[in-house]
Each structure stands twice: as C-alpha cells, then as structure tokens.
C-alpha cells in the first residue's frame, strides 16, 4: 500500500495543479466564446489564441513550478511530522520508497500535461465554436511532460535535502527563475535550445508557421531521451542521498 | 487466586510467588486438585514477567506441590496432606504473638522488634536465607 500512501501525500498538490490547469483551459474556451476573435486582431487564428493562453508566455514556468512542487514530500518531510521512524521501520528498503514516490509523481506530471489535450480539442467546438487539432495538443503535452518530468525530479531532489514546507516551496519558485536567468545569460546553454524550458515547452524550435503557431517539425525524440535520462539521474542522486541519511 | 508481589522487597518476585502459593496450599486455602491460573493469565493478572511465573511454577512442581499440565493449566497436587504443616504454622503464629506482646510490655517499639527480627534472620544460615 505504498502507492496509496504516495497518492494520499501528493493528492492535494496534484488536484490543485489539475484545478489550475482546468481553470486555464475553461477560461480560454469561455473567453473565446465571449470575445474571439479579438476586435483588434480579427484574423487571429484560434491556434494562436490557444498557444498564447495555454502553451506560451508564462504557462511553461507555471507548469514547471507546479511539477517541482509535486516532487516535494518524502522522508525528510515526515521527520518534523514524526512519522519517519514508522515508515523506516516497515520491512521495505529506502530505495523502494523512493521509486514508488517518484513513479507516482511522474504519472501525475503526465496526467497534468494531458489536461489541456483532453479539454481544449473536445470543448472548443461546443463552447467556442472553434476547432483545435488533437494532434497539436498531444504534441504540446509531450513537450510539457518531458521537461515537466525534469522539473519534478528537481523538486524530488530538493525534498531529499529539505523537509520544511516553506523552504521546499520557496525553492520550487526560486529554482525555475534562477535557472531561466542562468540559461539566458550563459552562452554555453545557447547551443542547446531545449535547455531553455520556456522555449522548449512552448514548442518554439518546432513551430514552422508563426501565424498559426502550429507544430510542424519532427518531434525531438533524442532530446526526449536525454531529458528522461536527466530526470532519472536526479532520482538516482536523491536515492543515494536518502540511503545514507540518518533520521 | 489473590496474590501480592512487592518488587522492591529483598526477594526475587518468583520467590515471593512460591512462598505465597506454598503458604496457601499448606493452610488449606488451595485444596488438592484445585486449579491455578495458567502462566499467561497469572502474569497478566499480576502484571509481572511470564518468566517469573514460569520459574515459580517450575520450582513448585519440583517440590511436588503442583502439577503443570500442557494445555489445561496448573493444579494443586493431590499428593501431600496439608494438616500437620498448617497446625505447625498456627502454633508458630501463637508463639510469635506471645513473644511480641512480651517485648512490647518491656518497652520495645514495633520498629525495633522488626529490626531485631530482620537482623536475626540475616545471621541465620545463608542457605536458609536464599530460599
């Protein structure tokens, strides 16, 4: 029943994140019903509208922060609460605890990244009278899912070091911002467009048509693998740290 | 079975238990064939370690006073007759009462009498003391 424990302990954050994303999607479609196309841009394509409100601008940063917060918790969090001893004296290895929590979190990130894909293509025709291709939202979902997983595992790594709720959350807000500044100011990072998460998740390198803002290019499967590798690496580091900690 | 154990007296608890059960058997409070509480039940009732009860029952069984049967508990042995010992004890009690009255009339206080008795018991044989 470790899966149940992992679910219960992350449930609130997951549901809140899902609610935030749902709210964004609903605002979009209802907003579109009310005033799309906007009077000052009558020939704005719906796909551009969707991009601006869901996949572009600050939304990648928002998603990264939510994913990172999802990574918090774990044994260091149980320490001040007083249940670390109970969890650690169960006949399980620490590795198993890590793996269950990590997999649960990654599944949650995947589901969150699919929220727009589930809502926008299905609701747009009924509510906004517009259509949006499912394939587009699935591709964006994949971009969000992969970088989002890296963000989750960074939060997971922080959680193996810091147990305070405030410290953890603060780190999850500061880290993406600091990272973004670092990437934009360091020339070394310029060689890897995927290193800039906002760039990557909003699909900039793969968008051929600036007007319609639709993903056209082939998806960067190698980059996906690299990102998955980085995420796994962070989990492995967190596992190693936890293995040698005293509680 | 009503028993009182004193954890801070100078006697191991199992010794106190043996003495009290033995006394009960010899004064007829426990009759031959009557059942004693099982080890677990008695330990839980007295809130003492089961090892204490095990040791006591084991020694009593060795002395032939009780029989421990697996599964059905412990029983007072039907083997010995209790009367002579009970009578001896009643006589001894009378003699102690007489001595105490005499000492008190001589002006010796209760605490002093207690101390004299304890000191005398210490000077008696070590073997007798360890029982």
């Amino acid at each position: 029943m470790l899966w149940y424990k992992a679910w219960r302990e992350s449930r609130m954050r997951f549901l809140l994140s899902a609610a935030v994303l749902t709210f964004l999607c609903m605002s979009l479609v209802y907003g579109a019903r009310a005033h799309f196309p906007p009077p000052e841009r009558p020939d704005l394509p719906y796909s551009a509208w969707v991009w601006a409100n869901i996949y572009g601008n600050l939304n990648p940063t928002l998603f990264v922060i939510l994913a990172m917060v999802l990574g918090l918790g774990g044994l260091q969090r149980e320490r001040p609460v007083g249940t670390a001893a109970f969890t650690l004296t169960l006949p399980i290895t620490r590795i198993r605890l890590i793996i269950v929590r990590a997999v649960m979190g990654l599944l949650q990130v995947a589901v969150l990244s699919l929220v727009p894909a589930m809502l926008i293509p299905t609701l747009s025709p009924f509510i906004a009278g517009q259509s949006y291709p499912e394939t587009q939202s699935l591709q964006f979902a994949l971009l969000f899912m992969t970088w989002g997983s890296v963000a989750f595992t960074v939060g997971f790594l922080w959680s193996s070091l810091f147990g305070g709720e405030f410290t953890g959350t603060a780190l999850c807000v500061i880290t993406p911002v600091v990272y973004r500044i670092l990437v934009q100011s360091t020339s070394a990072f310029q060689r890897f467009p995927a290193a800039n998460y906002a760039n990557f998740m909003s699909g900039m390198p793969y968008i051929q048509s600036p007007v319609k803002v639709l993903i056209v290019g082939p998806l960067p499967w190698t980059t996906f693998v690299v990102l998955a590798g980085i995420a796994t690496g962070f989990i492995a580091i967190a596992a190693r740290i936890t293995k040698y900690q005293d509680f | 079975m009503l028993l009182t154990l004193n954890p801070s007296s100078g006697q191991p608890l199992y010794v106190q238990l043996i003495q009290q059960i033995r006394h009960a058997i010899e004064t007829g409070v426990l009759r031959p064939g009557e059942g004693l509480p099982g080890i677990r039940t008695l330990a839980e009732q007295l809130v003492v370690s089961p090892n204490t009860v095990v040791k006591a029952y084991s020694e009593l069984e060795h002395e032939g006073l009780i029989e421990v049967r697996h599964g059905s508990g412990a029983y007072v042995s039907g083997k010995r007759s209790n009367k002579p010992r009970a009578e001896r004890l009643r006589n001894a009690q009378d003699r102690v009462r007489t001595l105490i009255d005499k000492l008190q009339r001589d002006g010796i206080s209760e605490e002093e009498i207690q101390r004299l008795v304890d000191a005398e018991l210490f000077f008696s044989t070590p073997a007798g003391r360890k029982r």
């Binding site: 249940t83 109970f86 399980i92 | -």
Partner: protein, 302 residues
C-alpha cells in the same frame, strides 16, 4: 528461556559532530525476556535504538539483531519483518483513519494475525473510522501496540512507551507487554519510569554517557544487593574494600554504610570480626541501583 542473544552490539559508536552520543557500546539482550533499558536524558538510549532499527547508521562499530548485521540494508529489512517498534510519540499517518492505517500496515507483513487484530481492536476499543490525527495519545499508543502485536513479532522494541500516558493507560500498556512476552516475543523497552521496569522486567541494561554501565537481572538485584549500615562503639577501623563487591561506601562518625552487590553476609561477618556492634541490612531498589550506577562508573556494580 533460551540463551540466544537477540541484540548484540560491538563497540557501537555514534557521533553527532563532536558529540559522542554512544561510545563503544557493547549491549547484549537475551531472547524470551523482558529487558528494560534505563538511562538519563541524553544517555544514548534513543540513538542506540535508532541504530538497531536501521533508522540511523553507526559512526563505527557494529551490531547484530536477530542474527543479522544491522548495517546492511537488505539484512536489516529482513530483520524488520520480525521486529515491531513503538516510537516515543507513537505517530502514524495523520491523514489515515484507524482502519486505513491497520490495512496499510497489514499489507507489509505476511504473518499478520487477523484474530489478534480483532481481539486487540475490541480490547482497546479503537474507533475504526476516526482519523489518526484526532486520536488522543493514549489511543495512539494502543493503536501503535496493535500494529506491533498483531503479527507476533520476535522482538518488540519500545522507546519510552509510557511517556505522556495516564496511569490507567500505563497499566494497559504493561499488560500488553506481558501478553506479548507470554507469546514468546522478546521485549526491549527504554524507560524513565523505574518503578514500571522494576515490576515487569526480567533484566535491565543501564546506559550512561553512551556506555553500558550495568547489565543484570532484577532477581539478582533483589537477592544479592543489600544496603548495609554498620555501627561501631569506637572509631571505625580503616577497612579496605578493594576486590569486594561493594559500591558507594560512606563513612559518617561511627558508622559505615555501603551497598553490597554480592556476598553481603561475608562482608557482614568480616566487619563484625573487626568490631561492628550493630548491623542493619535492607534491600536495594532499582532506583537506588540506577542512581549509583550513573553517578560513578564503578566496576563493582557488575
């Protein structure tokens, strides 16, 4: 009573920065017994227990629990299948209900006994649908005991189990320990409540400043330890007690008082030959043994 050791430590040491909480501890806890673990605050009891359970790692030294080395993750996990632990604050997941935490814990142990679970649920009157965070400390203790005992563990370790409990709850706790011991579980519990330990324990280990200062059975204390006070009608002669099993000798005027740990009668005979005119002997309580043990790390106490 078997002669097996369920816990053995070899020069076990734990350092927190510069502070040595546990210093070359050589602990031995025998099987099928109730052993009390006494020590002052900060003496190293909790640190020791955490190392035994694999919650923290020794700085040096080693230990064996239920025949398996305690600093190996896999072996420690194996041992924990047969060990039950009740922590001092008895906390479990606040967001789960009593029913859920029982189901949760049950899922990890193949030897869980549903009959015992049902019996303890009734005996402790634990409210199934209530959340753990709404339980009083007494109820949390009972819940922790249920989770520990419903599987007949080989070893039950408790850290200050009666902390924060009212006398009725303490009595119920002690009875639960006795029931566990009657089922063959070895019980090892740390406590400040010397009176409780004196009632239920077979053996006692006293730790002070990270070291084991005394390990003995309570029967031995009751049988062999004695306070003896000698009175002399003249100035008492100088007596050399080295080599004797004697601790805390005090001389005041024409009296000599001491705690003998063995052969009190031989010491009494000796001092009588030296001219003692009065002798008073009294049993020694566990509290007095403890206080003497932690005041001076005397070899004579062993």
């Amino acid at each position: 009573m078997s002669n097996r050791w369920v816990i053995e430590t070899y020069d076990l040491t734990k350092r927190y920065g510069k502070l040595e909480a546990v210093r070359k501890l050589n602990l031995r806890v025998g099987a099928s017994r109730i052993t009390g673990f006494l020590g002052r605050n900060g003496a190293g009891k909790s640190s020791t227990i955490k190392m035994l359970l694999g919650i923290s790692r020794p700085s040096s030294g080693s230990g064996v629990v239920l025949g398996r080395p305690m600093d190996n993750a896999q072996q420690s996990r194996e041992s924990r299948r047969h060990i039950a632990y009740v922590a001092e604050d008895k906390q479990t997941y606040a967001y789960m209900t009593v029913g859920q935490i029982i189901a949760f814990t049950r899922s990890f142990y193949g030897d869980w006994d549903l009959n015992i679970e049902q019996r303890l649920l009734r005996q402790f009157a634990l409210p199934f649908p209530r959340k753990v965070k709404a339980l009083s400390k007494g109820m949390r203790t009972k819940l922790a005991l249920l989770l520990a005992l419903a599987r007949r563990p080989e070893l039950l370790i408790l850290d200050e189990p009666s902390e924060g409990l009212d006398p009725v709850s303490i009595e119920e706790l002690l009875q639960a320990l006795i029931t566990a011991a009657a089922d063959g579980t070895t019980v090892f519990f740390s406590s400040h409540q010397i009176a409780e330990v004196e009632r239920v324990a077979d053996h006692v280990c006293i730790i002070d400043r990270g070291r084991l200062v005394l390990e003995t059975s309570l029967d031995r204390i009751r049988q062999d330890y004695r306070h003896v006070t000698f009175g002399f009608s003249t100035e008492p002669p100088p007596v050399d007690f080295t080599g004797e099993s004697v601790a805390s000798v005090r001389i005041d005027g024409r009296q000599i008082a001491m705690m003998a740990t063995r052969n009190a009668d031989a010491i009494i005979a000796r001092l009588q030959r030296l001219g003692a005119t009065s002798v008073e002997a009294a049993p020694v309580s566990l509290r007095e043994v403890f206080l003497a043990a932690v005041k001076e790390e005397s070899d004579a106490l062993v």
